[in-house]
Amino acid sequence: MRRISQVFFTILFNSYPGINPAERDFMYQGSLKKVCVPILNCYSCPLAWGSCPIGSFQQTLKMGVIPFFIIGFFGIIGLISGRFVCGWLCPFGMFQELLYKIKSIKITIPGFMRYFKYVVLGLTILIPIFWHEPFFCKFICPAGTGEASIWQILMQPMLISSIGFFFTLKYMFFIIFIAGSITMKRFFCVTLCPIGAIYGLFNRISLLKINVHKDPSKPNACTECNNCLNHCPMDIAIYRDTAHLDCIRCMRCIDVCPHGSVSSNIPLFNRSQREAASSGDISGSVSPG
């Protein structure tokens, strides 16, 4: 169900036929660009219908204007769902999950690296204010490189003459991003994404919640078998902290828990768990915990 949702939103946000030469810059320039999508999606992508929230946020700050609407927009989405949009809507998250399926050496991201995205978030706010540069878009954003840069340059070869240091820097980072995503679970989301960092702050109080039943007297008590950890796209043991800053609410832990210990407060997400429990078919191995 989640993959269908990711594909649906990828197409929904990126289905403009951007090859129309009548459009300047080979991108959609209509009134839908007034609307921010809730996830990382470069607005210079030839296929994008909406605007990128973090790009608009930085450009507004760069002009010395407080982006009230975007702050409110981030806050409302965070309060409703926490990082849910990262797991169910973000095309870039899906891209990383697909890259991770490539057979290679797999590495666990060190715990301290999880906090690096808050450094990136801090710089994403401060550098546009004090140095008037969109730090994240200019130096880091792999969505801009993968979704926009490659295609815009292919369609407008005259841009090649303007290539310089930042272009090389962004493509070097893009290669690191690809390598990181192949070897580490959602490398960018875990370590660098400022949008995920913002939404993650709301996981503790958001309306959408995950619960783990720990009462040993109940038959569905968690045994800490780590099956959830083994299947988690963000490498989290949900029984340790159900409101973990990095939990993207993908609900995979609900599906794979052999004891039915994990549940959500939204019944829709518990459906597959109930179906699996009733049929006795729960996928995934159980390692002693």
């Binding site: 210079s44 507004t60 204007v65 540069e133 490189t145 841009l159 272009f167």
Partner: protein, 47 residues
């Protein structure tokens, strides 16, 4: 949710709804549209 979380949730909801309304009144949409409509040279690594 416990009482403390409900209070924090309510306060933050009011703040963020207020910020969104201020943004709408300030016509933030027009700014966002201006950024989104034109090729972002920073995003594609040319600047």
């Amino acid at each position: 949710m416990n009482k403390k979380k409900v209070v924090i949730f309510t306060i933050l909801s009011i703040i963020f709804i207020a910020l969104t309304v201020i943004g709408i009144v300030n016509n933030d949409f027009l700014l966002i549209e201006q950024f989104g409509k034109f090729l972002c040279l920073d995003c594609i690594g040319i600047s």
